[in-house]
């Protein structure tokens, strides 16, 4: 090494949002710093002020084009909490169907379009061929299945939400549009396909994990805290309580979403417009945690549905609990995909799903504050609004799913940068022959 070196990745690709990576390597060849910079923000917290709170679900969905449903629902739950409203049971079921439809399509998109290209083309593959477009040429059957899975989830979300991007039907007190029997039947007919696709995806994910076992078990395996929601120990994405697990796998807290400020804090880095959410009692950086699929399967004792639980048991038999391996996120995501498919089937078969009683008629705004919490595909999502007597928003605070992970993303980056630049670990890894080359 002759001098200091700076490696810049601008932008990080196959990611939703804006991120750059900067790695600083000293004269001695040692990695000095690894930064992940989110390079923009839109100030939703501010421009939600003064709006009709019942419209917040439509403003909030615009935070994310891949996961507008969780934002739509966290927002409506926050307003309902502020106004002391309990929506009718059939409306809650429609919302559960909506969030599971999104979970299904987002997980399929994440696995096939954002992640799989790395495994199918290999980490040293030609960047021009390391993408979904190349997969459509090289593996037409896999890509066709992937596209059909995304399509099913997005169409189901659109059937409930009006449109998948951005849904508009949730209002304080329920849903604006009931689900018709005719539409329900159209989706029920497709369930056998959904099950088949899901089974094939589980097999593919397991093969990838096996083929890349060296990468999974050796790269970026540092422990962190984990946060996610559950209901009586089972993984729950619409209305769970928050559970926090420490680096050793001990559950250190179970708390109600409304008390989130006791445990959630945001660290503002010098070099990023996205804050790092962390476990407040332990401080930063010790309290860096992860959210999303891996965190959820770690904090949950079990999955909520049988096939998903089988898949979880299989993973635990191999990797234990908690799983710290960052690359195991992909496996965890597929276990959750199975749960989403099973939840969707159960809800479509529930007679209440086509009930017309989906909206209260006497909802009154009031002064107060409320917290809405759901699990977005990429982690625990919290909207907290304060409203005045007229029901206008006076203040908003949000814990956005991805921000739970950014501290840990940087930690992983630092680990991998050391492994790669100091130990040349990438040259020693056992890698399978690329499927696409």
């Amino acid at each position: 090494m002759t001098g200091e070196k700076v490696v810049r990745i601008e932008p990080v690709t196959r990611l939703e949002g804006h991120g750059d990576v900067t790695i600083k390597i000293g004269k001695d060849g040692r990695v000095k710093d690894a930064q992940f910079s989110v390079t923009s923000t839109r100030f939703f917290e501010k421009f939600l002020e003064g709006r009709f709170a019942e419209e917040a679900p439509k403003f909030a969905s615009r935070i994310c084009g891949i996961c507008p449903e969780p934002h739509h629902l966290a927002a409506v739950k926050a307003v309902e909490a502020a106004w002391d409203i309990t929506p009718p049971a059939p409306a809650v079921k429609l919302r559960r169907l909506l969030i599971n439809a999104k979970q299904f399509s987002s997980h399929a998109l994440h696995f096939f379009a954002l992640a799989a290209p790395d495994f199918l083309a290999g980490p040293f593959g030609d960047p021009a061929k390391r993408n979904l477009v190349a997969i459509t040429k090289a593996l037409p059957d896999v890509s066709k299945m992937a596209l059909q899975m995304m399509q099913f989830g997005q169409e189901l979300a659109a059937a409930i939400g009006g449109t998948a991007i951005h849904p508009v039907t949730a209002v304080p007190g329920g849903m604006l549009n009931p689900f018709s029997e005719e539409k329900r039947d159209q989706f029920l007919k497709r369930i056998s396909d959904v099950k088949q696709w899901t089974t094939s995806t589980v097999a593919l994910a397991k093969k990838i994990m096996d083929d890349y076992v060296d990468v999974v078990t050796k790269l970026a395996v540092g422990p962190t805290y984990y946060v996610g929601t559950h209901s009586k120990g089972a993984l729950e994405i619409y209305d769970g309580s928050i559970r926090i697990m420490d680096t050793a796998g001990e559950i250190v807290e179970d708390l109600k979403p409304k008390d989130y400020r006791k445990s959630f804090a945001e660290y503002v880095p010098e070099h990023s417009y996205a804050t790092h959410v962390y476990y407040k009692p332990v401080g930063y950086p010790a309290g860096i945690w992860r959210a999303g699929s891996l965190a959820r399967i770690n904090i949950a004792d079990k999955m909520a549905t049988p096939l998903a639980h089988e898949a979880l048991e299989e993973m635990r038999a191999k990797l234990g609990r908690p799983v710290h391996a960052t690359f195991a996120y992909h496996w965890a995501r597929i276990i959750e995909l199975v749960q989403a498919a099973e939840e969707i089937e159960g809800l479509l078969k529930d007679p209440q799903i086509v009930n017309n009683d989906v909206k209260l008629l006497d909802v009154k705004p009031k002064k107060g504050d409320g917290v809405g919490c759901v699990e977005a595909p990429r982690g625990t999502l919290i909207h907290h609004y304060w409203t005045d007597e007229q029901g206008l928003i006076t203040k908003a605070n949000m814990i956005v799913a991805t921000n739970n992970n950014i501290g840990a993303i940087e930690k992983s980056l630092m680990e991998v940068a050391k492994q790669v630049f100091e130990q040349k670990a990438h040259q020693k890894l056992k890698l399978p022959k690329p499927v696409i080359s």
Partner: protein
Amino acid sequence: MTKRIAMAQLTSCWGCDQSLLDLHLGLLEVLPELEIVFWPAVVDFKIKDLESMPDESIHIGLVEGSCRTEDDVRLLNLMRAKSKILVAWGVCSCYGGIQGLANQWELDELVDRKFMKADTVTDPRIPSENVPAFVPQVRPNVDVVKFNILLPGCPPTSKNIVEALAAILTGKPFDLPEKSVCDQCPKVKQDKHITKFHRSHEGRIDPSKCLLDQGYLCLGFATIGFCGAICPTVNSPCKGCFGPVLRVKDHGAKIVSALGAIAEMEPEQLKDSFPDPIGSFYFTDYAASYLSRMRDKARSKKK
């Protein structure tokens, strides 16, 4: 011969990308006609790859999002220079998008709220290393560079996108519809006798009847008919997210003047019904409004 295409994302939500991906199996028909030379959401090309391309070497450039940072402005200018046909992809690109509502405040107020005063922030500071500076306000991209095609929507539907691409690929003109959302809406319209406006969560909605006739603020009459009336079809009043009908320069001004004529209400009563006129009448296009432009001018003068 395939056409070289680039998709660039300024500050936005990724919804336009998702809408393009939502062609699903339709993608398999479109992709063989295209050579993707830049699309960070899906393909691994970097900014330096885009910079190294000759000017006007991209046949079709799609720009999603609006400029909130100086990096956004640079990328927008880069896309203009490299593209033959530049498309304003989505309502952010055409009119500023929902983030244009931030123009109601000064930049230091926005930054202060997010980084210094957020309830859960423990160590307030304003990030300044390896991040681009914010621009003082959001402007419609069409005010910054020239576009060849406007494709509004939040997001434009998959059908909107594929129709625009098909027109470009076959060399046909692409024109936006003259219609409004009302022209596409299946609900039955009758005479309007609006004496009171309801909020969207209130009361019992008759799913067969026009939402505006029932007293809900449905903005279909002033909004371009390009989405297929998605929201009123599911009993959710149109919020105007696709932007104004053709040739209307200021969406909110058009809405306010129409409401004055439609509603059988005193001006004061009408005013009291909408304590948040900007959020109610300029959901995704405040940055393109006269009001926002006036603030913009005042800001520039102050400097």
